[in-house]
Symmetry: D2
Subunit: 367 residues, 4 copies
């Protein structure tokens, strides 16, 4: 008599796609390592950090050996690690290009944190390097892999809302450490826009499948505030999408944590709030009859990313959010900064197809 439901073990750890995590900060320690533990198709095979002690400490904590811990200087030794098929780059933004390029040359596939680079040119160089080396490149846009954001996209594109007229998104939080690398232009490439505002931008593009045709932005960089010597504190922007659809977008490092996403059509409205945290996402679709808040299966966003990229590595498919998707956000962010600087509207290249920069659709988690 089977007393338990049929529980199957996941793939054996060593049969999964082995990743080297490059850069050990809060995200790696608190999200990526736990996520890899519950991944079906990926596992952490090696760790790379500027501090040898830290890499070794996390290796031990993972049950790995000291041989699995590398310094940045030893990065190229990953070449000899056949069990490391991919790297996940989690360094400060300005170092993405170097380590992505080096990894590509070693024949390792590259999963790179957002933003892909520090500007469109920098990001394009990463795309080019991976293409030349024949390795896959994925930009780690976790909000394009959740069932909640796919439900939002379905509401927008599936007619539930009628023709969508207005879009809006906010992603703001407080960055209060004046020494944080995120506040150094050279390392980060900008302020809140490429760090958190990018979620608003990227997700508006994702749910509509469309690309903005023009942007207008204003930014604020308060005098005398040591945190904002190099980068903007806040930005508010308008984006013109095809067909007269307009979006407002707000981002800040000097405003209380807020993440919101809206799409309003003639027949209904979509409201996600919170829109971008690691869990607890909420989707509400309102129409004449009332408000519907769907339920979703449990999952881990980073596990979904690991698994999608691991499956692409096995199948050879282009990831849903390849490098090109990351470049496009930089093109738009470059335009937003230009507009904020000049006080003028900045126009962008027209795209004729939907999802112009995306690859193979990911699997969504099932209940």
């Amino acid at each position: 008599m089977p007393l338990k439901p049929d529980i199957k073990a996941p793939e054996a750890q060593r049969e999964r796609v082995g990743f080297a995590l490059v850069g050990i900060g809060k995200l790696t320690a608190e999200e990526l390592i736990p996520a890899a533990c519950t991944s079906k198709h990926a596992y952490v095979a090696a760790l790379v950090s500027g501090e040898a002690d830290k890499a070794q400490g996390f290796a031990r904590a993972l049950g790995l050996t000291e041989q699995d811990a590398y310094t940045y200087e030893e990065f190229d030794e990953l070449a000899g690690r056949d069990d490391v098929q991919a790297v996940y780059i989690v360094t400060p933004n300005s170092l993405h290009r170097e380590y992505a390029t080096r990894a590509a040359r070693l024949g390792k596939h590259v999963l790179c944190e957002k933003p892909l680079g520090v500007n469109a040119e920098d990001a394009q160089a990463i795309v080019d390097a991976c293409k030349e080396a024949g390795v896959l490149l994925m930009t780690a846009y976790r909000c394009q892999y959740t069932p909640e954001h796919w439900a939002a996209r379905a509401a927008v594109q599936g007619g539930t809302l009628g023709e969508v007229r207005l879009l809006h998104s906010i992603h703001a939080q407080v960055e209060d450490d004046p020494e944080a690398w995120r506040l150094k232009r050279e390392l980060a490439g900008g302020g809140p826009l490429p760090d958190v505002g990018i979620y608003s931008l990227n997700t508006l593009r994702f749910i509509t499948g469309q690309e903005p045709e023009w942007v207008f932005a204003t930014q604020h960089q308060p005098d005398g505030n040591p945190r904002f010597r190099e980068v903007e504190a806040s930005m508010s922007a308008l984006l013109g999408f095809p067909g007269g659809v307009s979006a407002t977008l707000q981002t800040s490092y000097a405003a209380f944590k807020t993440t919101s996403l809206r799409a309003m059509g003639e027949k209904g409205s979509l409201n996600m709030e919170p829109a971008f945290p690691y869990d607890g996402l909420k989707v509400q679709v309102s129409s004449e009859g009332g408000t519907h808040e769907p339920t979703f299966p449990e999952y881990d966003q980073f596990t979904l990313e690991f698994d999608h990229f691991a499956q692409c590595i096995r199948s050879g498919d282009t990831p849903w959010t390849p490098g090109e998707e990351g470049v496009q956000d930089h093109v738009i962010m470059d335009a937003l900064y230009e507009s904020a600087r000049t006080g003028q509207v900045v126009r962008l290249p027209t795209q004729t197809s939907a999802d112009a920069f995306r690859g193979t659709k990911p699997q969504l988690p099932q209940k």
Copy 2:
């Protein structure tokens, strides 16, 4: 033994300030007449409508006589009605000026629906006429009289949120009758902006006590849609407030009913949603410790307006939202339309004092 709490009767009906309601549409029938029933200081003494039957029908429904019902042609006969001290003008926007001016000449105080006119010049003429006649003029901005909006203002100005950096508001709804006067430029002065977007604009100004220094806007008027032959369907805008504070504002007649108001500061955020309905307003203030949703006493927004204006009439005080407050919204809306037309930022006159266009603070309802 007193078995009941001490319940006091309100003022006798005939001792309250008598109003003539000018224009009988949905707002008058469903909101103003019931509100006057529960007012402490005001009552409906007369009705004016383009249709004699309608005015007489409502007079009978109110327990008034046929002598209390007037057509527009008979408007000046109100001169002889000493019991009518004030008029409440609820006509299409383009007629506000005519009836406000005629009422002022009859020595009647004027409570005028928003928007005050069809543009800044038109609205200013109303202010001038009332000043010349020595009567009081109040713009009926109901959202400057509720305890919820005053709590929002207190959160923004009282330090709870820290320094406020970003503001945002949406007021959208569907106007689906192509014949509605609200869709005729000559009658309405514009589309959703002066009708519903004005709440977003006016309330952002109210909660900050500040005036925008510049605006940028984009609007959409879809080709071939019979509803939007004369006016915009949607508008998205940026407003620059003093000190680098930026606001986004969205309004539409082609988007599902949405009313939202936000202010984000370094220590907390204010979120009102719904922000502008007649009842059911919700205020949430979030900060490090969590989210607080205060409770408020029950009241009727239109009763509060009637009572505030009636008390001003008795005391001679300037209303909290006098004509000047209504003119200022027109100045900004004129700039928004200019920006949408030219694609350029439009600058506005600088104001040096807070609440630059407001009068005597209203009493808030008590629990």
Copy 3:
């Protein structure tokens, strides 16, 4: 060109059914009088109060004359008032019987506040008196007239939830005036149970259409608390409904304002919270796919009651909540008190038909 939607005036005041309001407390002053103002079919024609000044004050406030104000001693003079077709009895509970009976003898129809009496016998006497006099009797159960509670009933009875297994309701609030008549057993007939707990009881019966077969209850009457010398402070109870469905019910005069109603079935659950206030009712229906919160038209609960009873008076139909409905709640409350006293289950008479004590369905407000 018709610029306005077609707005029709309600019936002329004097063509509606005239009511005498008997008893002027908070409910009469703050709810019933405003509600009558917006009623389509009813109006206040006379007022009766123990204090002549108060009755006259409210008469003046309503635009009535001093002849429309009566003391209790003058109650029988209503006989001569052909324009008073009905009375609405809003006195302390123990006086319902006297004034209902006197009104019936005068040929006036009777709308009586809940609870109908002070116990089942007392309430039955009211039913008998009205029957003998040939006048209609309605128990003022406002929560059987709202679209929200009818939606709750539809969810329970219409299969949305699957077979319903568990029911639950709370209605608690603080009564902090030791002198309140509601705390005197002789006047009120009990404590929180007949005042607020009755909403939980009555609405559970309404949404299921079923009657409990047995009850078990525990009550608390704290020693030495001057407020609870005569009546219970709190009660918790179990009610057994047909088919093994069980309900828990909690009520208190010593607990923070809480109103909640739930029904749980195999396929979904219904949650109303708040469940019983005058406005702001919220209905949520959760099932596998998520949670749906329907929207409802605006209305006034007391206006709906006035209008239903006025229509019954015109048509001769039995009201949806006649006297029998009020008696049945007393039968159950008597059993609850008996159980609390004896510590034993108390059984109730079996009912074989659904809605065993109800009359003609009311019209629900339309959007």
Copy 4:
């Protein structure tokens, strides 16, 4: 220049307390194994399952060897595993006693899933066996380790709510597999009560720190339903706590997923909904001024349990929820079943001290 915040690696895996997981079902696979991955003080050193393949599969998935996988027959071989200091028993309830006793005899500390046994006598035998063997025993009541439930307890005991008068909790869900061991009396010891209702019971005891003095219950076991041949489908109960405080409790295997917890006092009310899931817990405290919803740090409930027990093993402290805590719930559940069977109130032994069955307070997660 340190570009990253100071991120420290957790303890090396092999320095943590090693656990053998005994029983591999959904909970083990989806919650316990991932939780152990992120534990600071515990790790999975061995796995025990009735199916050798399954144990070996999970061992491989965890990066362990085949030597770390055991069948139940091989259980006593854990004796030789010095790296296994504790077992976590996750078998069907009726097997808790056997494996807890055997583990205790091997000198292994015992963390046992709730309910501790199948009735009070069975559970007491586990307590006795662990005491005799000198090993620690903890009942895995995850809801006594979260910051949300501790905040609820603080609201109840700290005066925020005033004197608490009424308590209420629901824990219901659908169990739709007629073959599930949870529906076999011999294996489970009961139906929904010991599986999910126990959370309501245990958490009401936890937040008050008090023990019920009497209970009354009714249960439903529908005829002819193959799922409910052996155990109840639903139960509703009243519990009498000291000082006249009364609680209602509802549980079901035939009602849509609902988890709710309330405490109502004179000054405020506590509402947790959802009250018992693995994440997404929500705490709302309402009082005169409004509703406050506090925010909490992120954590994993099972990690907190692993870490608390691992720390107790190192320090020798009695766990916060020792075996005695588990026995007490069985004492009460036995009484609830007796009441449901007899239709009579069942009295329970009086406890004179608060938290009568609890040990050393756990550390709460920090932001």
